[in-house]
């Protein structure tokens, strides 16, 4: 029973990261039809910035996270402006290739700055607490809460504010968005910034738990794509729930089926979804 509870908790922790990354990916896909293959690298940069600020500059953990989030938001906006905006009217393949290029570039830059070694980040919440008799690293609970709060903030923003409505409107009908006077270019830039910021939150949250290294984004990108397809391309709810579902399946499958094949589970799930529900589990809706 304790093993089961531990695995559920692990699943929720990994799921928080998956959902945060997949949400950004699905937002960008929904509003711009760009599959941002470099999204996991934005997550990786969030983790590295948090690591560098905490471990090398001695900045407080939360302040480091805030700086990482703002930096990545700006980087996301710049990425949209400089790489994807000029390709808006080009064939979709061009944006895909550009995204792959950005992915390789970011990974090389990280390796150049921080080297190929695995890095560890300290957290102010290093203790162990007891949750219903279960020993839990305190930072994991912090991660669960902070991730949930970020996602809640995103949902409130998308559903309760005019700016959020403008993003959703652009995703649902870009031409009609233009006709009511929405600057869809600015929406694209804001969407990229928000998505990169979410990835940075995920990176900074996971840095003290898992190791930080240049290739840490690649697997997450792959998983996030599985989640986005699983949840229905462009669906916010789908990405949110899909992230937790996939991580739970992985952690339970890894424990009770085979730990060797843990990373395979995502792709088995993907194959099953493609076979039985090609449109995804949730209808596409931003």
């Amino acid at each position: 029973m304790e093993l089961f509870a531990q695995q559920i908790l692990n699943g929720l922790v990994t799921g928080s990261v998956y959902s945060l990354v997949a949400l950004g990916l699905t937002l960008i896909y929904g509003t711009m039809n760009v599959p941002n293959f470099a999204h996991g690298q934005l997550f990786m940069f969030g983790a590295y910035l948090s690591y560098a600020l905490v471990m090398r500059a001695g900045v407080h953990y939360w302040i480091a996270m805030a700086i990482a989030v703002v930096t990545l938001a700006i980087a996301g906006a710049v990425l949209e402006r400089s790489v994807f905006r000029p390709l808006r009217h080009a064939p979709p393949l061009n944006s895909m290739i550009a995204a792959l290029g950005v992915m390789l570039l970011l990974e090389a830059v990280a390796q150049n700055i921080w080297g190929p070694e695995f890095r560890h980040t300290d957290t102010p919440y290093g203790g162990i607490v007891s949750l219903f008799g279960l020993p839990v690293a305190a930072h994991r609970l912090i991660l669960l809460g902070a991730a949930a709060a970020s996602m809640m903030a995103l949902l409130v923003f998308l559903t309760r504010t005019t700016a959020g409505a403008a993003i959703r409107a652009t995703a649902q009908n870009p031409e009609a968005a233009l006709l009511v006077g929405i600057d869809t270019g600015r929406v694209a830039m804001a969407t990229f910034a928000i998505s990169a910021a979410l990835a940075a939150v995920a990176g900074a949250l996971i840095a003290p738990i898992s190791l930080v290294y240049p290739a840490m984004g690649t697997v997450v990108t792959l998983k996030a794509f599985v989640i986005v397809v699983l949840g229905g391309m462009g669906s916010v709810t789908g990405a949110l729930i899909g992230g937790y579902l996939l991580a739970l399946a992985e952690s339970l499958g890894g424990t009770y089926v085979s730990a060797t094949y843990q990373d395979l589970i995502a792709f088995v799930v993907l194959a099953l979804v493609f076979t039985f529900r090609p449109a995804g589990l949730f209808k596409a809706a931003v």
Partner: protein, 235 residues
């Protein structure tokens, strides 16, 4: 006044609209008639800035040349385009769709006032404000689309085939609403395949064929015109 001169729009080497000139004067309701593919939608798209017009085309409105402006600047100039096929935001609520029509207005009380006006014009929408727009019937979706365009409080409203694929009774309701909008002083440029019903509410009309203007005149005259009767009214 909206004054379009020598408007030509090409898709690649195909000229969808050739040297079309027309105008909508203050207070007028003008109808563009023509079969599918005659170029009506292309004209609307060029005027509202969605499709670029060819060199030499002039679209003058309120002292500005529209062909060099962004769709957003065109909305700000008081021109609102209700597109063919409604183009709603299907997953957003009716209320959000309508409020987004006033996206360029930042005065909450003013938006509320406009909303009340739209609901007065389309009473059936009052009870559906929280439903996703995509869940409404065709007629009600059309009301949302026209209402959304009106929320910008335009001086001129462009309506592209608002009655397409609606039941005859609903067509009459929609066109009656269009006439009511025009009576409040809003200029209207309407495109229709339903020639008779459109000419009944219009002041003047233009007839398009294969991307060219072939005929124009007061609505009452066009209604009596043999060619119009034969081509569009089955008489």
């Amino acid at each position: 006044m909206l004054k379009v001169s020598a408007l030509t729009v090409s898709y690649g080497s195909f000229q969808a609209v050739r040297e079309v000139s027309f105008e909508v004067r203050p207070g007028e309701l003008v109808v563009l008639l023509g079969a599918n593919g005659a170029g009506k939608t292309t004209i609307f798209r060029a005027v509202s800035g969605l499709t670029p017009a060819d060199r030499g085309s002039r679209i003058e409105w309120a002292g500005q040349e529209l062909s060099s402006l962004s769709p957003r600047a065109i909305v700000d100039s008081g021109l609102s385009h209700c597109p063919e096929g409604r183009k709603l935001f299907p997953e957003l609520s009716v209320g959000t769709n309508l409020r987004l029509g006033a996206y360029r207005c930042h005065d909450k009380a003013e938006i509320q006032r406009r909303l009340a006006r739209v609901l007065e014009l389309f009473p059936p929408l009052s009870g559906r404000m929280n439903d996703p727009a995509g869940a409404l019937s065709g007629g009600q979706q059309q009301m949302v689309s026209v209402g959304r365009a009106l929320m910008a409080e335009p001086k001129i409203l462009l309506l592209d085939e608002p009655s397409v694929s609606l039941a005859p009774k609903v067509v009459a309701q929609v066109l009656e609403a269009v006439a009511a909008i025009n009576r409040t002083g809003t200029m209207v440029l309407l495109s229709e395949q339903n020639a008779y019903a459109a000419l009944e509410i219009a002041h003047r009309g233009y007839v398009l064929e294969g991307g060219r203007l072939v005929l124009h005149g007061p609505a009452a005259e066009l209604m009596q015109h043999d060619e119009v009767r034969r081509a569009y009214m089955g008489a």
